[in-house]
Symmetry: C4
C-alpha cells in the first residue's frame, strides 16, 4: 500500500471515530504499515480533521524519512504492535469514556468478556461462549518501558486484537482498514455493554 | 410487494437504525416478505450503507433464487419468524447496548414491562396497565436449534412483537415498514428506560 | 397568532425535539393557542417530520373546525392546560427517557428540585435556592379523568411550568415558542442531572 | 486581537459547544480579551446560534463601550478570571450534565483527578500521576460576592485551568481559542469518566 492510500483511509476513519467521541481534545493517534514503512499521525491535531500535512512518514525501521512535524509520543507503541503482530497493517489508538473507565475499575491484567454475540465482530472469535481477553497494562509515560512490557507479555500470551492501557485507552489492530474499524466498533460496543452490565450487577459479580 | 420496494424500504430503515447505534460493527440483519419470497441482507455489510447488491433474494420456501452473496447466518431465524407469524412482512434484527445488557441481567425467560405509556407503541397494547412480555431465549450459535426453540415456545405462548436473544439482541416484526420501525423504536425506548430504572431501584425490585 | 404561524413554529420545534430523542415512535403531541382557537398535532405521525396536513384546527371551545384527521387522544389535556393557565400559548408534550424514569422512581406527587443553577431557565425562578416543583400525576388512559385531576390540583396549587405524568412524560407550557422550548430544554437538562445524581447518592438521599 | 476576530472564534466555538449539549436553554456565556478590552456574549441567546449582534464590547476596565444589549449576569466572573490569570485570553462558561452533577456530589472544595492520561490535555500537566485539581465554589446569585471568593482562593492556591461552580457549571480559560477549546473538551471528558467511575466504585471510594 502506498502512503497516500493509507493516509486517505486514516483521514476518513478519523472523521468517523471523532463523531463517536473516541478521540477528544486532540487525543488518540492512528497509523498504517505501507510499502515504504509507516505513516502515523503527528501530535497535537484534531483527529476528526486530519489532512495529509498531519501525518509523519517513517521508513521500515521507524525513522522519520520526511516532514519536520513532531511525531506522536506514542509512535513507539505503534511500531511495537507492528513488530509483534506481522499481519497487522493498521493500528488505531483511541480514548473513549468506556475504555478509560473499564480499564481502571477492572483491577486485573485483562478484560475478559464472554456471553456477548458481538464478540464475533473480532476476527477469530466464532462464538459467544469463547472468552475474549484484552490485556490491560498500567499506564506509563515512558513509552519505551511500556512497549517492552507489551512485548514481554506477547511472548507467553500473544496479543490478537489489541490492548488496553489503564485510564488511557485502546490500541486495536487490523489487517485492512475495514477490519480495524470493525474491531474498534465491536470492542467499543462491548466496553459500553460491560460498563452498563457492571452498573447493574456490581463490580464483584 | 415487489423485491425492489422492500429493498428500498430496508435501505432507508438501515440508515435510520445505524444512526441510532443499533447495528454496530456490521451486526444486525433485516428482511421482508415479498411477492416472490423474501429479501434478506447479506452478511458482513455495514447496515447503515446498504445497497441493492447487499441483499439476497429467496423464494417462498427460503431457497436462494439469485445472487451469489453469502446470506446472513441468521436468515433461518428470520424465516422462522415469518412462518410463526403470518401477518409479519418485515423482520428487523438489531444489536443495541440496552437490548444486549437487559437480556443478560434479566435471568428469567421474558422481559415483562408495565407502567410505561410507551408500551402503546406496540400494536395491540392499549394501556400502560397491560403487561408487555418479550420472550428471552438463550443465545445459540446453532441457528436451527435456536429456531426450533422459538417455534416450540410460540406453540403455547404466541410471539406477538418480537423476541430477545440473550447477550445478542432483538428480533422485531411488523406488517408494514412503518409498523416495524415504530415497534423497534418503541421497544428500544422501553429498554433504555428499564435499564435506567433498574440502576436506580436495583435488579431485585 | 394565525394558525399557519403556529403550525410553522411547531413543525420547526418538532424537528429539534425529535433530534434530541424526546418524541420516539410517533409519541408526543404539540399545540398552540391561536386567533381562531387551537392547532394540535394529529395522532400517529412522526413528530420530527410534521407538515401542515398533520395538524388539526380546533375552535375556541376545542371543537374540530376543519380537517378530518383524528386528533391526538391527549388533546383534552392540552385544552385543560390552556384553560388553567391563561398566559400559556403553547403546550409541548414529550416522552424522554429521563422524564419517564424519574416520574416512576419518585414515589411522591411532585418532583422537587433545588441547588441547580439551570432552574433559572424556568420563568419566575431567580435562584438555585428556590425549589422548583413539578407535579406528578399517575398515568390514566381516561384523559377526561386525568384532566379533572390536573384541574383539581391546580385549584390549591397552581401549575406554573408544566406537569409530569408517571411513566409517560412531560407537558410543558409557554407564552411564546422560544419560552416553551427553553423551558422544555431546561427541564430535560434538570431531569438528566437528577437521574445521574440519584444514581450516585441513591434514591433515599 | 481585534474584537471581530474574537467574536468569529467564539461564534464558531459556540456551535461546537452547543452540539455537545454543554450550553442548554440559552445557558452559558463566552468571552475574550482583545486589543480594546473584552467581548462577552449578551444574555438570553442560544449559544449555538450566536451572531455579532449577540456580543457586548467592554473597555479595558470592563465598562460597556458600545451596544445597548444586556451583558450576561456573569460578566463579572469573566472579568475576575482575566484579572487573576494574566495569560488567559478566553473564558468559556458551560453547563454540562457531568460538570453540574459532579460539582454537587463531590462535597469538598475541589475535584481532584489522577490516573487519567487525558489529564495531559490540560496545559502544564505532563503525567497521569500528577493530580489535576479544579476548585469547586458554592453557587451564589451574588456574582460580586462569588468573584471575591474566587479571588481570595486564588491568592493562596492559584487557579490554572478553571473553576467549577457547584450545581452550576464550569469556567475554563485559555491563552488561545484552540487551547481553551482543548481544555474544555479534555475536562468534560474527564468529568464524564469520573461520573462513570464513581457509579461503579461508589462515592466513598
Amino acid at each position: 500500500m502506498h502512503n497516500n492510500t493509507a493516509i486517505s483511509e486514516l483521514i476518513e476513519a478519523g472523521k468517523w471515530i471523532s463523531q463517536r467521541g473516541w478521540v477528544p481534545a486532540t487525543g488518540g493517534n492512528f497509523s498504517a504499515r505501507t510499502n515504504s514503512g509507516f505513516v502515523v499521525t503527528a501530535s497535537g491535531f484534531d483527529k476528526g480533521q486530519l489532512g495529509s500535512h498531519t501525518f509523519i512518514e517513517l521508513d521500515h525501521v521507524g525513522n522519520r524519512s520526511a516532514s519536520a512535524a513532531k511525531p506522536s509520543a506514542e509512535t513507539e507503541l505503534h511500531l511495537c504492535m507492528y513488530k509483534l503482530i506481522p499481519a497487522a497493517n493498521y493500528v488505531l489508538h483511541t480514548h473513549s469514556v468506556a475504555a478509560t473507565v473499564l480499564s481502571r475499575v477492572i483491577k486485573g491484567h485483562s478484560l475478559d468478556l464472554d456471553g456477548y454475540e458481538m464478540q464475533k465482530s473480532l476476527t477469530g472469535i466464532t462464538s459467544h461462549l469463547d472468552t475474549l481477553s484484552i490485556p490491560i497494562f498500567d499506564n506509563d509515560q515512558d513509552i519505551d518501558r511500556l512497549s517492552l512490557l507489551v512485548s514481554d507479555h506477547h511472548l507467553h500470551m500473544p496479543i490478537e486484537h489489541g490492548v488496553l492501557i489503564r485510564g488511557h485507552g485502546l490500541y486495536v489492530v487490523g489487517r485492512t482498514i475495514s477490519e480495524v474499524r470493525r474491531q474498534l466498533e465491536g470492542l467499543e460496543f462491548l466496553f459500553a455493554c460491560e460498563i452498563e452490565r457492571l452498573k447493574l450487577v456490581g463490580l464483584e459479580s
